[in-house]
Symmetry: C2
Subunit: 263 residues, 2 copies
Amino acid sequence: MKRVKLTVAYDGTNYCGWQVQPNGLAVQEVLNRCLSELLKTKIEVIGASRTDAGVHALGNVAVFDTEARMPAEKFSYALNTRLPQDIRIQNSCQVPDDFHPRFQETVKTYEYKIYNRKFPDPTKRLYTYFYYYPLDVEKMRQGAAYLIGEHDFKSFSTYKPEVENTVRTIYELGIQRSEDDVITIRIRGNGFLYNMVRIIAGTLIRVGGGYYPPKHVKEILEAKNRELAGETARPEGLTLVEIRYPEWEAKKDGHHVSVDPLP
Amino acid sequence: MKRVKLTVAYDGTNYCGWQVQPNGLAVQEVLNRCLSELLKTKIEVIGASRTDAGVHALGNVAVFDTEARMPAEKFSYALNTRLPQDIRIQNSCQVPDDFHPRFQETVKTYEYKIYNRKFPDPTKRLYTYFYYYPLDVEKMRQGAAYLIGEHDFKSFSTYKPEVENTVRTIYELGIQRSEDDVITIRIRGNGFLYNMVRIIAGTLIRVGGGYYPPKHVKEILEAKNRELAGETARPEGLTLVEIRYPEWEAKKDGHHVSVDPLP
């Protein structure tokens, strides 16, 4: 038996999200079906991040166990010949039998993209949130600065009764405007509450639009009240870029790994 | 009566191209229908460029005549409330009654995008051509240099019996690789033959992949033989970025306009 780790990229447009739902096709479902067909036995993957309907991923992670003799590295190629074009395995490798994609230290990176111009570009509509009114990126950065570090992010999450601890750490929160008017909010942390990135994006859009001053972000954070933060920004702007596992990487490489800023 | 010029952006994925065809829905058809509904009389636009199925546009141009009192500038807003999300009017303005989008001097800019990495990114699949083998951008630039200027581009076009003159001028042909492995071929000229940009892209991909040396592009050009050039690269990588009308712009602005490099 070996445990195989998949790095999974997908266009979330046509899916009801990662996790199996009664109301649509889930990415996980398609992956389970293709793997089961490939290995001629029922396979169910364990996913790292249950992305919502319409949210994209470049690097979600899933693991499964198999007795198959196929080398772990070959699964990416074998699966990509069976998967639809909007799901692509980026990498497959063997991991220890006790590697769990959720129950260990992780560092996740998300990007939220806003297309901020007078008229929408139809070729960007599936991967950015179109926002008409001009946004002040410098003010957004000032607001974002209050969120970096360890905080109780209760104000920036949709309530889930099973989540008791709402303290998380944000390591990086950068905001850039590209030449073609895409504002990218890039956020990296040790974990994210339900809808947290989208609520942070919705709040920073309010700051960038001048609806409230940057320092109001600090007051929202301290109030621990979801009602004070901005709306949950639309799903199509969100991409799960990367999930890293510092402990596993350290063991694998035989030395301590610091999670460097991405290129 | 006034003539209105529309700058039309669209995602070509779900269309059979610009021009009305028996086998699918055309962008022009949707535009005619929405305009006719808006103005409650039959309208047929005249388009500048008949983009093929799957090809995108940020700045195709169409004109129509109307007796309506609505100011020309308002048509962009009025149409965007009726058009599907994958077609967006970027601008509308009045032009002289004899302004024809094809029968006058034009400067067109296209971009052809290649996603050049080991595994495809599903969120780029509709707007780039995925190419697995590493491409040498410097070699592509060397090959491209032979195409700049006035030449007979017969080797780089799909034959159309009605086109007698295959001489065109390319003003600019730049190639850039972005941080996320998208190679953009940006090409600007006074007109393009049928499939010309896609055949140039297919040929430069062969040069970049090392299938033949850059200087072979010169030999292909001189042979005036379509069979020697590379394949017609897939439509999803192509975007019509801009169409400019130097004569009209000069008259409109009251002085001579040089068509500057785009930002």
